[in-house]
Amino acid sequence: MISLLKTIWTVFMTMFRKRVTILYPEERPYLPPRWRGRIILSRDPDGGERCVACYLCAAACPVDCIALQAAEDEHGRRYPEFFRINFSRCIFCGYCEEACPTYAIQLTPDFEMGEYVRQNLVYEKEDLLISGPGKYPGFNFYKVAGLAIGGKDKGEAEDEEPPVDVKSLLP
């Protein structure tokens, strides 16, 4: 009996508490930087595309919504010829971001992607590619990778030693 009255009183007193609802279009909720929203493709600090078209994201994607085609430019740098994400299928799990070896594909704190036409949810590479490095400034995959490309030979990457000549007898 007393507990019932106490319950009623407690509920009544919640009247004077601040409401938790965020009135969305007028007020914006705070989204943490690692929020898993709209996907982008980033560029390295030199402005080159980070994506090396390794297909790891497409393989990791549980709903198979990433499609891409690898290509290679004259310097030997790999890049995707097209890169397509079907956001009507994407579940924003972030596995693609985890799989990516070059920090190219990233999820961003943006969820306002509503469309009236379903086809518009298919984003092409020019929709995905942004001009900056996204969440990982300063990382340049080809500067740290051992792969030789045009303008950078083996052993010339950052923190890399010149390759060992295995045929030499010197220690």
Binding site: I8, T10, V11, F12, T14, R19, V20, T21, L23
Partner: protein, 317 residues
């Protein structure tokens, strides 16, 4: 002005006002529940979401009005109308303010009790006519619940009747000029209010429609405006019980400064809010608990109240 025309004007304005209140309660309940749950509730349509009622009405009127092929057609259609009609009939005897009432019935209170007993037909018939097991269970529960709570709903009011010496609601209000009946009749008030909740089958006594057990209870099979009628009936029932509580125990229209009608509406409004507060805070009891509570606690309590009040009234003579 001639008397009959005045009567008609009063009648229709009461009808319209009561129905409008019933409609606005949908909005009020949602807003208040939201307030007590740290939310906002409907606040988009119009100022403070007031036009939500209009939107809901348009929606409920344009819904497909479906009658299941296995249902008992005529009863199925009549059932939702019954509840609205009987509740509206009860409003006929409520004195809103001096002169503002439909009939000045000398057995007003008995008339109300009779009408609220008829209300059980609506729910029971709806459960029966739907021909679905959940509806039937809801209807069964409703009839048992409403019948048993009716017993002491009437008994709890007898104390008031004794003190006022009348069944006429206007005279009962007049008798409270010096002292509200809630003071000598506190037990009667509590019992009547609890019985009122059970009669309108509101939470926490909403076992007939217990959505966690019975889908939607007796109105599982209803859609469109027929479902809407049950809802309007329920909200009208809340208004009716609140109006009666304020009239029988809290001095109705009596009060200083403000005009009588305003006092009546304010008191009624407070009790409507209390109804909603109960919904926001209390959990639904088990069915056997409900029955045991009714027969083992409430009935003896109201009987004791009756005997003691009677003795005191006799002694004072």
């Amino acid at each position: 002005m001639s008397q009959p025309i005045l009567q008609l004007i009063i009648l229709f304005s009461i009808l319209i006002v009561v129905l409008a209140i019933g409609g606005m309660l949908i909005w009020l309940e949602r807003r208040l529940l939201a307030l007590w749950q740290d939310r906002y509730g409907p606040n988009r349509v119009g100022p403070f979401g007031l036009f939500q009622v209009v939107a809901d009405m348009i929606k409920v009127f344009t819904k497909e009005d479906w009658i299941p092929p296995f249902a008992d057609r005529s009863v199925f259609i009549i059932a939702p109308a019954v509840i609205v009609v009987v509740v509206l009939m009860s409003f006929a005897v409520i004195p809103f303010a001096p002169g503002i009432e439909v009939v000045d019935l000398n057995i007003g209170l008995l008339f109300f009790l009779a009408m609220s007993s008829l209300g059980v037909y609506s729910v029971a018939l709806a459960g029966w006519a739907s021909d679905s097991k959940y509806s039937l269970l809801g209807g069964l529960r409703a009839s048992a619940q409403m019948l048993s709570y009716e017993v002491f709903m009437g008994l709890s009011l007898m104390g008031v009747v004794m003190l006022a010496g009348s069944f006429n609601l206007r005279e009962i209000v007049e008798a409270q000029r010096h002292r509200w009946f809630v003071m000598p009749q506190f037990i009667g008030f509590v019992v009547f209010f609890i019985a009122g909740i059970a009669e309108t089958h509101r939470l926490p006594f909403d076992l007939p429609e217990a959505e966690s057990e019975l889908v939607a209870g007796y109105h599982s099979e209803y859609s469109g405006m027929k479902f809407g009628m049950f809802f309007v009936g329920e909200y009208l029932g809340i208004t009716l019980i609140s109006a009666l509580v304020s009239g029988l125990f809290f001095g109705g229209w009596l009060g200083p400064v403000l005009p009588p009608l305003a006092w009546f509406l304010i008191k009624t409004f407070v009790f409507i809010c209390f109804f909603i507060l109960l919904r926001a805070s209390l959990a639904r009891p088990r069915y056997d608990q409900l029955m045991a509570f009714g027969w083992k606690v409430m009935l003896p309590l109201s009987l004791a109240n009756l005997v003691v009040t009677g003795a005191i009234v006799l002694m004072k003579r």
